[in-house]
Amino acid sequence: MIESQLFRALADPTRRAIYEQLSKAEMNVSQLNHGLAVSQPAISQHLAVLREAGLLTERRAGRFSYYRAEPSGLSPLIDWVERYRHFWPERVEKLKAVLKEMEQ
């Protein structure tokens, strides 16, 4: 279930911050570490979760891995929002019809 993995990955504020950093520039773990008040092992764990969720691409160069945000990883989230943007107006129309039939 890629959706739940994605939603879970983005539920954490630190991971969202990492994702945002990596959407601006490609970075390795120590570069990320400079901008965040989180230990390097913790960042590595967060990166693993983001990568599992399809939100990152990784490029290896020598001893380092460089990470970049993968925008297409967000598409299930965009689909979610799109679906409900149509869903609620339809349901509210039903609600209005029900309200009309209710006695007050």
């Binding site: 969202r16 967000l74 679906r83 309200l99 007050q104």
Partner: protein
């Protein structure tokens, strides 16, 4: 600007309803009526097929929150807000927030830390009314 997220995980919509707030409130909270326009109201019963909602909290007359179960898209929290408009009519707000699923595919150590992820803390959310631009800002 560090408070501005690139990723929206909620949907916020507003509707004008030409009915009295009390009547709207009744339709949002009375299970028999909720079922007519939205979905069955259940109690902690994820086995129900199809859409269902479970009452989580109410601020009487003002807001009611349900756990919303979508058979395809998983769980979210939906909060309906009621306020009064001019002329005795109502304004209905719908706020839907994604709830992360319990960790099932993650390995042990990670799963533990992830399972405590809170349902959407308000501070880090953007209104998703401009959904696409907000979502894609990170891209």
């Amino acid at each position: 600007m560090s408070e501005t997220p690139a990723v929206a995980r909620e949907l916020s919509l507003e509707f004008a309803i030409d009915e009295a707030p009390e009547k709207l409130w009744h339709a949002l909270t009375e299970p028999r009526i909720v079922e007519q326009w939205l979905a069955p109201v259940v109690r902690n019963d994820p086995t129900t097929a199809g859409f269902s909602c479970e009452l989580l909290a109410t601020d009487p007359g003002r807001s009611v929150s349900y756990r919303w179960r979508d058979p395809d898209l998983g769980e979210s929290i939906v909060t309906f807000g009621v306020s009064e408009r001019e002329g005795g009519f109502s304004q209905l707000s719908v706020l839907q927030e994604i709830v992360p699923m319990p960790a099932v595919t993650m390995s042990g150590a990670l799963g533990c830390s992830l399972a405590i992820a809170a349902p959407a803390s308000r501070r880090v959310l953007t209104a998703a009314n401009q959904a696409r631009p907000a979502l894609l800002r990170a891209a």
